[in-house]
Subunit: 276 residues, 4 copies
């Protein structure tokens, strides 16, 4: 979840950077501001200020990089929302069931089923935002000063990319506001894995003592043993482990690495308004 | 051409911004830096410094926004190169012929033809860069901590996007280094248009005097007249124009609007290293 | 798995149809076969026959529909392979574990892990095939008789789309040839669902007797009851079910619908060489 | 224009083939038709017949190849319309001016300008159709039986792809119905090229006599000569051409190659309802 937060802060940072660079476009028929007599640059400055947009060095009707840059930021934001939504969808599937949406959609014929409806909306919106953004991203290569048709295609595509990006983010917000987390089930899923998630740690513990080759072999054999991982490893003379150190290594609560520190970093970034 | 320069400076600015945000990725099997004992964050810092990349708040293997952001900058840079190349291609076509590549490719059966070979390479590279960048842009939505296959698809796509972007830009540089500009032909093309490019200006001149409706009608009729635009307008009592003011309005050299000032702005941005 | 087979047969059908329509291209500088004197059409016919390709009504260098059609068939075939690969990947994840690749890749630090390596390759190849096919699909809109650069971009993209499509299909074939299916685990996963997968069936059974509204309520309550679905339903007077009919309804083996007939249809299509 | 016709017939052929393969989808919650008792396949047959769609071997909710195939046909049809529209746009530009739309859009400030408005609409629609079709083309890789969100994204995308494809084709029809062709200008453009378009023919004429190397050199030199192509070639002893044969070679009317026969082939295909 700290990863979700960090990715959302990245998306916000990108949108803010693009917002700052968005510049007004004013040029007249030939892009020379000729219609304004000698006061073209002045008009451009006032026009940009009036719109609350940056003043561009030049009229840019023939160079759609700014539109593509905005589109990319929308696509990345929508994609971030889709990633979170897909995580929720897969963690909510019956066989995993570690999270559930508070307001999941009811299935019309399956009474027990709470579909992750908010996540589905987020993901559908993100795909539609992305498809429309792709059109804009591909619009830089166009002929002459203003490609007939290319320009007109940008309008509905930009509108759709903006609207669907907003839809994706709003839906994910709804999902996260009420997400139910089943810690007990998480622990059960961990236990059902029979220590397998700690196998990497055991290999790291044994490698300095017995070499990587043998460490991998001992752990693999123990995982496959009917005696269970713990008892098989204790009985393995090659491993040579004491019960205390093994039990500590097998306690998931001591296997968090730098998780807490990393979560704190994400929270600090969020609270500090850090827009790295 | 000032527009080309400005668009290239935009692309460079975007690449520089992405370059600054590019962060190292180090996390270990579960993204918790567990393999480094208590020294995970320290290891991350040293690793990033060693690579000359930013230190990320968190490991980001599951959130491919940074890859997508890089891909978008590559796509926009390639697209900028493609836009310039297409301008050259269309300005070099026989019926326009205002520019030519210095080292155009010889046609195998048509001796007179100098194909705009550098521009064609730029454009082909840009399309290939864009296709590969699209794959990366679509990679944010992926399942769990590391989507099997999605990650592996990124490697050749990123390599190709980088290489083809570089190819597009290098080819455009070659084109621009030796571009031949035919000013005489430009003037001939303008003259062949029979004053039509100045029609907007004439409408602006007449509108305050005789109203927009009548101004449009007078200029349209004069353009269609067998007498030619100048004589037809002089003979039009509704227009009421003196020969001197008409001749001034019909001189393209006085119809540059703010073109010179705008070119200066682009050059100033270039020289000042302004990376707006 | 019958669905996989049917989708693969669809892909094969599409490829065969495209293969049949693929036509030779021969036109000369202006697309008029002028270089062959009066024998242009004759040359075109012989040329197509020599290549084992269809003879087109006209030279088609300026109309890339055939290339786009081939690209679409490659993309659809690669996508079909990716769908199967993703099914295998998700069914092989620890919490589901209903299938495993015979020759999964070993993890470098996690001894117990058999990564679905073949499926990952299939999926990575499919994405790369699709990105390259997209370039080709977008190539119809191009300027004049032969867009400079557009044509050159097609060559590496077509080569890559063909190669990666082949890679995706070959990898899936490897996966399917040795796929290990864990029927016991499938049954355990079904049982762990506590009858939930049969809920729809129970609603269909009850609706004619007690109305849809009440049927949905009875089944939902029984699913949530600590007594378990079976006992709770038996104890529900609104449901009014006899033990025998309930036990039959709760036996997954009797809940196959038309599955067997449908599998037979897929096999018949496969055996009959039906290329519907 | 025969090429346009042939490409449109290709597009129609592809749409017809897809239309024929479009199959009804009916499966129920698990894709087994279980809700229909023993009469699932019967229900499927009746349902398909009722919809006027093909009966599929299996329910195909999890395999979106049919949707992708339809999307590809829409994209190819829209792309064909865009190609024609872009040809019209570029042939209508002031410097070429060989065609004009009958009902071009008036420019708001440039009275002489008839924008190729129908072609612009066709092209804009085609790009929007293509972007939406791309979403559908990428939908094959999705998780499990029915990817949450992926399915919902298909609805608006399919609707938009159908509508915009129709818009593109309708706009092109409008353009072609009233296209004005300026044969005189075509001839003037040819003449302005100073025989350059016949250079290939001259090389073919000379090569058997004086070798390819010398043929290319003679023609290139003559094209660059201030005397003009004809006189320079006559004066070139290496070429050794008689005035009569040179004049014949320089007459565009005799340089049509198989153009007439090819046009007849396109018309025959159109009239015969040939859907090759």
């Amino acid at each position: 979840v700290a990863g979700w937060l960090d990715a959302l802060l990245d998306a916000r940072t990108r949108l803010a950077a693009v917002r700052e660079r968005l510049a007004a476009q004013l040029g007249g028929a030939a892009g020379t501001l000729a219609g304004f007599g000698g006061r073209g640059p002045e008009a451009l400055e006032a026009y940009a200020a009036g719109l609350g947009l940056a003043e561009p060095p030049l009229p840019w009707h023939a160079h759609r990089g700014r539109v593509a840059e905005l589109a990319a930021a929308l696509q990345q934001t929508a994609g971030t929302a889709a990633k979170i939504a897909l995580d929720v969808i897969l963690l909510a599937q019956s066989e995993v069931a570690e999270v559930a949406e508070a307001a999941g959609g009811a299935s019309s014929t399956m009474p027990q089923k709470q579909n992750p409806a908010g996540s589905a909306i987020a993901r559908a919106c993100a795909r539609l935002a992305s498809a429309n953004a792709s059109l804009l991203a591909g619009g830089l290569e166009h002929e002459h000063e203003r490609a007939a048709g290319a320009w007109q295609a940008e309008w509905p595509a930009l509108t759709a990319a903006l609207a669907y990006m907003g839809g994706a983010v709003a839906a994910v917000r709804g999902v996260l506001d009420g997400l139910r987390v089943d810690e007990e089930r998480m622990r059960r899923n961990l236990d059902a894995a029979g220590g397998a998630v700690l196998a990497e740690r055991l290999v790291f513990l044994l490698t300095p003592r017995i070499g990587r080759e043998q460490a991998l072999r001992s752990v693999r054999d123990a995982l496959a043993s009917p005696a269970g991982l713990r008892d098989a490893l204790l009985a393995d003379p090659a491993a040579g482990l004491e019960p205390e150190e093994l039990d500590e290594a097998l306690d998931p609560a001591t296997a968090m690495g730098a998780a807490t520190a990393l979560v704190d970093r994400a929270l600090a970034r969020h609270r500090g308004g850090d827009a790295r």
